[in-house]
Amino acid sequence: MMRRFLILFLFSACILESPCCLWAKDAVMGISVDKKVVEVGDAIQLSLSFDNGQKVPALDLPAINSFKSQYLGPSTMMSIINGQVSSSITHRYLLVAVKTGTFKVGPLAISYKGIDYKSEAIEIQVVSRGQLSKSSPGNSVQPQAQAQTEEELKERIFLAISVPDTRVYLNERVPVTVKLYVNQLEVRDIQYPEILGTGFMQDGFVNPRQSRQYRDNVSGILYDIIEFNTYAYFTRDGEIALGPAKLKCNLLIRESQRRRGRGIDDLFSHDFFDDSFFSDMFGRSRIYPLDLTSAQLAINVSSLPEDGRPQQFSGAIGSFKMQVEAEPRELKAGDPITLTFKIAGDGNFDSVNCPRLDSEEGFKAYQPQARTEDGVKIFEQVIMPESEKITEIPKIKFAYFNPQIEKYILIEEGPFPIRVAAQAEDKSVVLDASQIKQILPQKTQVLGRDIIYIKEEAGAWQKKGDFLHLRTGFLIFQLLPLSFLFISLAVGKRRERLSADVHYARKLRAPKIARAGLARAKRYLKNNKTKEFYDVIFKTLQEYLGHRFSRASAGITAQVVDELIESKNLDAQTADKLKNCFLNCDTARYAVSQDSMQTMQKTLAQLEEIIDNLERRKRK
């Protein structure tokens, strides 16, 4: 997945970053102006467009005779049509006419990243001041001026009809395109075009919102174009006139600008898709109905060739593929098999008839049912094998004429093996009238048995043989809760014993108390505090022995030590040290003396030895 993503990313990066490398062959420079006739002192807009060349910089216009130029700025456009990305940049310049006459702009050229862009030349006519305004429809209209305006209007909005090839075959599906060209006019209420003529049939037009709307340069003028697409089918051979196409629409005319009276450009000088909501609301515009008519097209229609025409050909013309399904394949003689033929492709589906079995011998065939869905014509035909000896459905053949390669094509599918079992013999049964009544209203259904169809969803994939219980990690993971349980059990048991058995709890506490006391004693020894030292030694000894032997700590003194030694059967060495330790403590605590550091160290060492001995004894 990561690898795919990386490839996609690099590919996209290449497309976005290096357009000239990829599209070098297609790079062209288009040149257009917003009007070709202009008065002295007025400006026209010159556009230089670079298809698939978003980063091409603005070129410095060479000095153009009779015009002063100024760079207005770039505009970029990116479009995605059927997944194909295209981009373009248009550099706009303002040209102000300074002299009357007819002048040429271009050809212009620029070289960018090793690619040479060249444009064609366009001609611009500059007339003297006031010459154009005379022809304004707002003024008292002169016939000549009006004719000039209408002629100019024809150049600004017109209709064209086209087909890919004027040489076609009878019944061939021919794509027909009607294009509406508009140059800087505001057009409203565009109706579907109508194609006039006889000798052909046509489909309905594709919704123009779903069809292409784009801009194109025609003879140096930039037009907004709407394409209307349909298909035509020619029903007789010979030369047939297609069209003219007619289209009705409304032009929006600005009243305020009309009053200024600056010719047709001022009348309609708005962008094609301008929103004139406020203008309409305040009554500053009016509607001008327009009937547009295209030229005619002469189509040369040929009948289908006789040579190589297969026997199975029944009029289908186009390019098709056939898919055949037969279900069920295991059945009893006399049971139905449904044959489903799916004819998909590009062509005249009205001319497609149901394919035929190579031989219908041994079968009873019924009339096929047809329906068309999204570019596929589906026929369903029921056939019945008449005996159990039938082992296959014969080949199914379908022939069509492909106008592209001008040949007949024969497609074959099958044969399809089938298993036909013998029909169980009918036994005669005598029924009374009531039984017949019960039986008659019920519709008989032929029920076959077969497996249920495949699954479309793949479900959850897993590595083959990768089962949870076979994974070592999973098994190790299972030890964690068990360990927790055992630890909890041990801790709980110990806690229970500590709370229930006081002797045990005191015994466990004894070494802790001893350790704490010894630490304090060491601190006092270090600071040479004799009295505090012996107090701590005595108290530690008392508490340790009290906890260790389950006696009241306060009651343990030098006097009761003998009894303790005897009852607990302590060894002589430990007993001596114990007695000595108590004696040293008593002496130091009750007699005013200042023991040397050495004596104190000795006492501390004795206490440590006593505790150590007693702890070792406990473990034994």
Binding site: I452, W461, K464
Partner: protein
Amino acid sequence: MKTNIKLTVYFLICSAIYIGLSAVCFAETQTVFVLDDFSRANRFYKEGQFEKAKDAYEAILDGGFESGPLYYNLANSYYKLGGLGRAILNYERAEFFMPQDRDLKFNIEFCRSLVQDGIVPRQTLIANLLDKLSSKVSFNRITFMSAALYCLLCILSGVYFLSRRRLQFLKPAIFLSLIFFITAILTLSPKIYQNHLRREAVIIVPEAACRFAPSDTSTTYFKIYEGAKVDIVAEDAGWARIRTADSKIGWVKGEVLQRVYTAFFKS
């Protein structure tokens, strides 16, 4: 008391994290990118090219991936090609992944009904109950559920033992998790038995002779037909000692049968 409740909550959170981690680490599904191959195989099937469809499904299996629908579709392709034994074999394998699938149940029953001399094994009431229980969930899922319940049981019991005053409200929870855990184990055990110990296999040739001894010259005891499900009792030099559903035991050549699930077996 407050400390005890805090302790319980703490450990329950820990157990939830543990179960979550287990789910993440050992989730039964893996995202794999064999969907294109699967769709291609389906397309072949739809076009009636069952041989190609079968090859395409098997190529996915050879690539090391498997799923319930893959085995199901492969079984359908085999059925269409007339391989009843291999069809049943692959339906059995599919059942391991999607035991509750109705289409699968229908197809497997339908194919079993086509087996010549098909013998339906008798089951005790308890075995039948356990079988029904285990057929509700897939193997990995029930393994995971058992592990999760075991974890919950351990943690709840641990918290119970750790608490100073033995939190009484934990007792019913421990009892319930114990019951569920036992149920999960009971559900799991038939599957383990079926696949680890019983070693099921399906006859994949139209007819096979079952002999008294693992030898070609040995007397034929009985005949067994394509699609019959048997248990492998032992194996010896390319021969398998099998037990049929009606408890007859005999020797067949190893190539006449195929194990339902070989991934469990190291042999």
